[in-house]
Symmetry: C2
């Protein structure tokens, strides 16, 4: 196969991201820490690639702690970390939160309203 792109994907079909049980629990554990969740919110609210220094200022924690939380979010598959020379940029990995969200919603009670 030479330089032949298999798909041009002009409008980019949003593939639906399937989560395993292990991934689900990993993600939930990653989200369970308040500081970490706040970090994720900060990344989400900013324009996607958030500088690491900006994050350090937004939350008030030591650099070591921030690095730890970043790694935790990364290994759980929630964010992408792009390194550009000295800096690191954080962005939310698309589809993961949606997948979790969908699964959580599927657990909702069909009937049984407080009965």
């Amino acid at each position: 196969m030479p330089t032949r792109k298999p798909e041009p994907t002009p409008t980019e079909p949003p593939k639906p991201v399937r989560l395993t049980r292990a991934q689900r629990t990993a993600i939930l554990k990653a989200l369970s820490d308040p500081k970490r969740f706040e970090l994720l919110e900060t990344i989400a609210r900013s324009q996607c690639p958030l500088g690491c220094t900006a994050a350090h200022e937004a939350l008030s924690i030591a650099p070591a702690t921030l690095s730890h939380h970043i790694k935790e979010l990364q290994t759980s598959g929630l964010i992408d970390v792009r390194r550009e020379g000295k800096f690191a940029f954080l962005s939310i990995k698309p589809g993961v939160l949606e997948a979790l969200s969908t699964y959580l919603q599927s657990l909702s009670p069909a009937g049984c309203p407080t009965r």
Copy 2:
């Protein structure tokens, strides 16, 4: 104001359950434990009021541990516990998972596809 019900609500409009930040973190912490999440799944999949003994058989944990997890899910606002004589019945509190799910989805990146 005498005995005047403000609303008869014949078809039961599903009120949308607003979550505070504290509630969100409490819920996420409650969901972060695998056994606890499995318990919630078990409650969800069963017909809503799940017997406590059935839960103890589904997961394989000591009664004391199960009781602890039940209390944890209850105080976080995820489930209701109805006591009937000797027994306890667990049911998912309606609206809470939906509210969390909606909030998580609102954090998804608008643009910035891996860029």
